[in-house]
């Protein structure tokens, strides 16, 4: 693992990222992104570096407004202009890339297609024959536990089921990197834990390299091999924490003392950032109120 040396003193923190390893599948190398110019410019992401190894599950965690979604859009190729390099197999990302499959925070199933047609959609774009399309889509529908719901429309499914359809649709085209932006943000805690189990199971079954963007501590520790803790604006790597919990994991892991220790430790870092974020937001609101009152 890339940060092994830095973590030799314990499985805790890496303050600064070392140079990316050659065998990394995804390399984030000194990535920055600024919106606007002049005094009103906002630096969303600043000089971020880390990498993701093949088959590894990495989570990026940070308070709201720390630039997580900007980072997600850069890695997914939706934000084409940025400073630094996002490399996949030594090629720089400057647009959507076939190797990256994206799962979005918002509900993204197509309401006019049933579950089977939703999942088969990427294969339809690749002109895969109908029977092969059906077979491959069926495999991923089963993988996310939705067998029997193939003919249902998204409006007939729960939020958690719709998100599983989105995950199956992303996986069906065989991306080398699965990139997820808070996919369970809109779900309740119990569904979130159970879907976490499903994600862990899929990741273990497919050895899927995964990068999860989240602000949920429990989710990050439950699922990840490593967690990149981000600072509040501008988003920088505060430290990288190795999660040394045994695999295969289930949601039962949340009751273990080691899990609690990781959560407490990361929260120690996050609290400082979240507090800063909240104070800045309150100061901004107060300034706006003052301006409005004239």
């Amino acid at each position: 693992m890339n940060n092994a040396a830095a973590n030799a003193a314990g499985d805790k923190a890496v303050p600064v990222m070392p140079a990316p390893a050659a065998e990394a599948q995804l390399v984030i190398d000194r990535v920055s992104k600024r919106f606007g110019e002049g005094p009103g410019a906002v630096v969303a992401v600043d000089d971020m570096s880390f990498d993701v190894m093949p088959g590894e599950f990495v989570a990026c965690i940070g308070p709201s407004g720390c630039g997580k979604s900007t980072l997600f859009n850069i890695i997914g190729g939706l934000q084409e202009e940025y400073v630094g390099n996002v490399m996949i197999d030594k090629s720089r990302i400057a647009g959507p890339h076939a190797a990256v499959g994206m799962v979005f925070q918002e509900e993204s199933t197509f309401p006019w297609r049933n579950v089977l047609d939703n999942v088969a959609f990427p294969l339809e774009l690749q002109n895969v024959g109908q029977s092969e399309r059906r077979d491959r889509a069926q495999k991923f529908i089963s993988l996310v536990g939705l067998q029997g719901f193939e003919k249902r429309m998204p409006s007939e499914l729960s939020g958690g089921m719709r998100q599983r359809v989105s995950i199956a649709r992303t996986l069906v085209s065989g991306p080398r990197i699965l990139l997820m932006d808070e996919p369970f943000a809109a779900l309740d805690e119990q569904t979130r834990l159970l879907l976490g189990d499903k994600i862990t199971q899929i990741q273990q079954e497919l050895h899927q390299t995964t990068l999860l963007i989240t602000h949920n501590l429990t989710e990050a520790v439950q699922l990840s091999d490593r967690i990149v803790v981000m600072t509040y604006r501008p988003g920088r790597v505060k430290r990288i924490v190795n999660i040394d919990l045994p695999r295969p994991r289930t949601s039962d892991v949340v009751s273990s003392p080691a899990f609690g220790k990781y959560v407490a430790e990361i929260w120690g870092d996050l609290r400082e950032e979240a507090t800063r974020g909240m104070e800045e937001a309150e100061a901004g609101a107060a300034a706006r109120g003052k301006t409005a009152r004239g």
């Binding site: 939706l78 959507p96 994206m102 509900e107 993204s108 197509f110 006019w112 409006s155």
Partner: protein, 256 residues
């Protein structure tokens, strides 16, 4: 028991609607009989209903329905073929949208029917005049709703398309159009309503063609029951037209 209750409630609303119409007709009949309403201005509802058979048999109603349907058909198709691409262009090119959006909205409110002398000069006293005027009348809602529907597609669906490296054409046909279809359909319904009003109205105004001309003929003969019977017939045809349209829409429209 529950099924019987559901069955009753399903029929209750239409029965109430039909009952209300019958009650209004009965009340009008009484008001006319008692002289409260002048029978030289408003005919007896019973006489209007009895005239229905007469105008159907004697006034070649089926032929006239055919003529109106012909004009409607071409106008409705043309409205879609012209309106949807214009709406799409306004969505695609923001500068164009900013330039003409207000004009299109104004077109929806403009009483174009008053311009019929101009169209008579341009196209003569023919079905073409009726079709061209009706198409122009029906264009605004479909243009506005097409633009609105495409602009209202959730950004996440577009991002899904981008992440799958879809080209512009694929994005348009496989994501934008299906996602915008419910709103476009509401534009089609509005446009076709405008087209129907326009077709019958202009037929009436220039005394040409189908059902509009029939109303004009009967009014000029001062056949009041016949005139109202013809109006009633047009209303019936419109109701049938929109019931069929609703069915087609349900069939084509993706589930929400």
């Amino acid at each position: 028991m529950a099924d019987a209750g559901a069955g009753r409630s399903r029929w209750a609303a239409p029965a109430l609607g039909a009952g209300s119409v019958i009650a209004i007709f009965a009340a009008l009949e009484i008001l006319l009989k008692t002289g409260i309403v002048n029978r030289f201005i408003v005919p007896y509802p019973s006489a209007v209903l009895l005239s229905l058979e007469r105008i159907i048999v004697e006034e070649n109603v089926l032929g006239r329905v055919g003529e109106t349907a012909f004009e409607m058909f071409f106008s409705c198709i043309a409205v879609i073929l012209i309106g949807v691409p214009i709406g799409t262009a306004l969505y695609r090119y923001r500068a164009l949208r900013r330039a003409v959006e207000d004009w299109v909205a104004a077109l929806a409110a403009a009483p174009l029917v008053l311009a019929f002398p101009l169209f008579l000069v341009l196209f003569g006293r023919s079905s073409l005049t009726i079709i061209v005027m009706s198409v122009i009348t029906g264009l605004a809602p479909i243009i506005i709703k097409t633009t609105e529907g495409l602009a209202g597609v959730r950004p996440v669906l577009i991002n899904v398309g981008k992440s799958l490296k879809m080209g512009d054409s694929q994005m348009f046909w496989k994501i934008l159009i299906p996602a915008a279809l419910p709103v476009i359909f509401s534009g089609i319904r509005l446009s076709w309503t405008f087209v129907l009003i326009s077709v019958v109205g202009i037929e009436f105004l220039i005394n040409l063609g189908g059902l509009g001309q029939l109303i004009n003929d009967l009014a000029e003969r001062y056949d009041l029951p016949g005139t109202y019977a013809a109006i009633l017939f047009v209303v019936g045809v419109s109701v049938c037209f929109f019931m069929i349209l609703e069915r087609v829409e349900t069939w084509l429209r993706p589930n929400p």
